[in-house]
């Protein structure tokens, strides 16, 4: 018994001493990249890295001719030489939006020498910070905060590991300021839809009001569970209804269904909703769990469904049949695809920054699809395997390709993209 305890103490002491001395080291030279780090990568921020791209400018100067920069770099996944590993913080691999993003990123990885490391389904701040640590150990250069619970703390932790962090914290200026102050040049910034979640709820309500819906049932998802995203969407929807009523429409929320499909309580609530005489069901997450019920109850023609969802084959036939009339759609290419040009610029030493030299929030349009034509324009494009924002568009925003790329060109490109600009 004694021998074993001693050997165990030894093992524990060994592991912790390495951690302790490791931590002294990092504290010692906070500034420079950790020399003893195993990965052969050169220091990104020390000296401007000059791999491949012959343009060697720190700040994006306007007068460089675009042609020679783009000429010798081809979009076949060869640039940049050293693979850029990126961590992706996700919360539900089975959700349609995350699967759409994964498909888009796979396409971009064929064009740029990138590798995306997807997280497990993270539910809380602690596992989010653990995953960020994991990415650092795996040699990632940047982390995309698609899911964010720990707010600016994630950006600061990334900075500790000398990794870039992309994430707009849902447009929360206060957190962005704290991230800029805490993470410094490692914070790239992120998109904002002007309080995205609130807007999504509001535009859904507005669209339903325009389509003359009076009695609406709202599925509030995680609002009752205090999940911030759902609380603001519900708030947005309720305000949207109030605005419609002030504007003369007769509209009211008849019933609210809480929680997620699969629980007995949700099943019971769904059945009682089918009895009510309502003309619309709006959901602050997807609405697929209603299709089967609505079809069976034979109310497919009299009932309209609205949701915050995706353009995907699940909704295709229901949108075209008119059952689903409104989809508030965060197009994955514009909302999340913008992380790639920001990361590629930062990694290749030409980080895009705002006037005060920091990471910045940039507005992006949230698309509200109300007609089948709009829906099919995006769906057919994806179906045929091409994309709204192609690899060439992204290359145009990377200074290494196109010397004229500036923060403004980036903002204009992504800020202006609406459903109608889809060819």
């Amino acid at each position: 018994m004694k021998k074993k305890v001693l050997s165990m103490m030894l093992a524990a002491a060994m592991v912790f001493s390495m951690a302790a001395c490791g931590s002294d080291d990092a504290a010692g030279n906070d500034q420079g990249g950790d020399t003893r780090q195993e990965e052969p990568s050169g220091d990104e921020d020390q000296a401007p890295a000059d791999e491949g791209g012959d343009t060697d400018i720190q700040e994006p100067a306007g007068d460089e001719t675009p042609s020679d920069g783009a000429a010798d770099i081809t979009l076949d996944g060869s640039w940049p030489e050293e693979t850029v590993k990126i961590g992706f913080v996700g919360y539900d691999q089975a959700s349609e939006q995350q699967q759409a993003i994964t498909a888009y990123f796979d396409y971009l990885c064929e064009n740029f020498n990138m590798e995306i490391m997807y997280s497990e389904d993270l539910t809380d701040a602690q596992s989010e910070l653990d995953f960020i640590g994991q990415c650092a150990a795996a040699g990632c250069k940047a982390v995309i905060g698609y899911y964010n619970e720990a707010k600016e703390q994630s950006a600061i932790t990334c900075a500790d590991y000398q990794m870039y962090y992309w994430g707009g914290f849902g447009g929360d200026e206060e957190s962005v300021a704290a991230a800029v102050e805490g993470a410094g040049e490692y914070y790239l910034g992120g998109y904002t839809l002007g309080d995205a979640e609130y807007e999504a709820g509001r535009s859904m309500a507005k669209a339903l009001a325009e389509q003359g819906c009076e009695k609406v049932v709202l599925c509030s998802g995680g609002a009752a569970m205090g999940v911030p995203m759902f609380v603001s969407r519900k708030q947005g929807f309720e305000d949207g209804v109030k605005e419609a009523v002030d504007g003369g429409a007769t509209m009211e929320i008849v019933y609210e269904v809480e929680g997620w499909p699969g629980t007995d309580a949700f099943t019971a609530a769904q059945t009682s909703v089918m009895d009510m005489d309502i003309d619309a069901i709006a959901s602050t997450f997807d609405v697929a769990m209603w299709f089967q019920l609505v079809m069976e109850s034979g109310k497919a023609d009299s009932l309209k469904l609205a949701c915050i969802g995706e353009v995907s084959d699940t909704y295709y036939d229901f949108f075209n049949s008119g059952l689903v009339s409104v989809i508030v759609y965060d197009n994955e290419e514009t909302c999340f695809g913008n992380a790639i040009p920001l990361i590629l610029n930062a990694v290749s030493g030409t980080k895009l920054v705002d006037e005060s030299g920091n990471g910045f929030l940039f507005p992006v349009e949230r698309w509200t699809i109300t007609t089948p034509e709009q829906y099919n324009s995006v769906y057919d494009l994806h179906d045929a395997g091409n994309w709204v924002v192609t690899a060439e568009d992204i290359a145009n925003l990377v200074v290494a390709f196109n010397a004229d790329a500036t923060t403004d060109t980036f903002k204009d490109f992504y800020g202006s993209f609406t459903i109608d600009s889809v060819k």
Binding site: M1, K4, V5, S7, M8, A11, A12, V15, F16, M18, A19, A20, G22, S23, D24, D25, A26, A27, D34, R36, Q37, E38, E39, Q93, E115, M117, Y118, S119, E120, D121, T123, D124, A125, Q126, S127, E128, L129, D130, F131, G133, Q134, A136, A137, A138, G139, E149, A150, K151, Q153, T157, D160, Y161, A178, A224, M225, G226, V227, P228, V231
Partner: protein, 324 residues
């Protein structure tokens, strides 16, 4: 009957050391697979932070499992003390108050469990599963519309800790708590009493061991671990939501079992099971993620490794009947 040296012991001996061998093996395999990145300084700090919550709760849980109480509500307990602790932090702005609140809350839950397991006979395993889900729902009812608790809106600025300071705090908390538990389990009657109760409730009672006192005492010791874990969660992530510590219940169970702790407690319980198990699980997770496998493969491998380690450590007690 001739008393030949029993080979049964060394077969059991291998069983006893299996968890430690498992840990070393996992470290070696993944250091090779990740080309040494597993033991890079960053990752060591990383793992030191990740192991914290599971290890603290698992070490305390050795006492509770040892007595034969199979506690599945530890995740709920960590969540509850973290939420109330964070709320106290926001209102008081002092770290000390936060720690005190965490301890009080988790000890209160421990007393409830103590009363039910000592005075009211109940199938404890199923009771704690239900208790765990009830606690998480009570948290939602308490938090109501306040959604998530952010430390940054605290009355007075709660000191933030940079990365390295956090690692040091973690190491100190874990080392101190582990040594205290090691002392209590191996160098005071508590450990031996727990082992006897876990082995055979009736004969422990007939030897004068006060089982009611022991039930409550073991829950309180485990509650200290839960409180420390909740405290560290608060100061590290500075954000406590309704889903915090969601997977702690099963992580602790996996860590204990991988650490060589018998499911029904009893004489083969050992305090090292908590720490060795937690370390193995963290190294496994970290290694698998770094090798770049998809989440599905990571979980599949984790399931298989979990069963294999349990199989090896179960060689010391194989009977004719199917275990229950």
């Amino acid at each position: 009957m001739s008393e030949k040296k029993s080979t049964k012991i060394n077969l059991g001996g291998i069983g006893k050391l299996a968890p430690l061998i498992g840990l070393v093996l996992v470290i070696l395999i993944f250091t090779a697979l990740t080309g040494g990145k597993l033991l890079s300084v960053t990752n060591l700090q990383n793992m030191a932070n990740q192991v914290m919550v599971t290890a603290l709760v698992a070490i305390g849980a050795v006492f509770v499992y040892g007595v034969g109480n199979f506690d599945m509500s530890l995740g709920g307990a960590v969540l509850f003390s973290a939420v109330l602790g964070a709320m106290a932090a926001v209102r008081s702005g002092s770290i000390f108050v936060t720690l005190v609140v965490c301890i009080l809350v988790s000890v209160a839950i421990a007393l409830i469990k103590g009363i039910f397991s000592a005075y009211i006979e109940v199938p404890f395993f199923i009771f704690t599963i239900v208790l765990g889900s009830v606690i998480s729902s009570i948290v939602l009812v308490i938090m109501g519309s306040e959604t998530t608790v952010y430390l940054k809106d605290a009355v007075r600025e709660i000191p933030t800790f940079n990365f390295t300071q956090m690692t040091i705090i973690n190491v100190v908390f874990l080392a101190v708590y582990f040594l205290v538990c090691l002392f209590l389990f191996n160098y005071t009657p508590i450990g031996s009493k727990a082992k006897m109760m876990g082995g055979n409730k009736v004969s422990a009672k007939q030897s004068g061991i006060n089982d009611k006192k022991m039930h409550v005492l073991t829950f309180v010791i485990s509650a200290i671990g839960v409180a420390l874990a909740a405290f560290i969660l608060i100061i590290r992530t500075r954000t406590i939501g309704s889903q915090t510590a969601g997977s702690v219940g099963t992580d602790v169970l996996i860590a204990l079992v991988v650490g060589g702790m018998p499911i029904s407690g009893g004489p083969k319980s050992k305090i090292s099971a908590g720490l060795v198990g937690a370390l193995t699980v963290v190294v496994l997770n970290s290694g698998l993620t770094m090798v770049g496998l998809s989440t599905a493969w990571i979980q599949a491998i984790r399931g298989v490794v979990f069963i294999v380690v349990v199989l090896v450590s179960s060689f010391s007690y194989r009977g004719k009947l199917l275990p229950r």
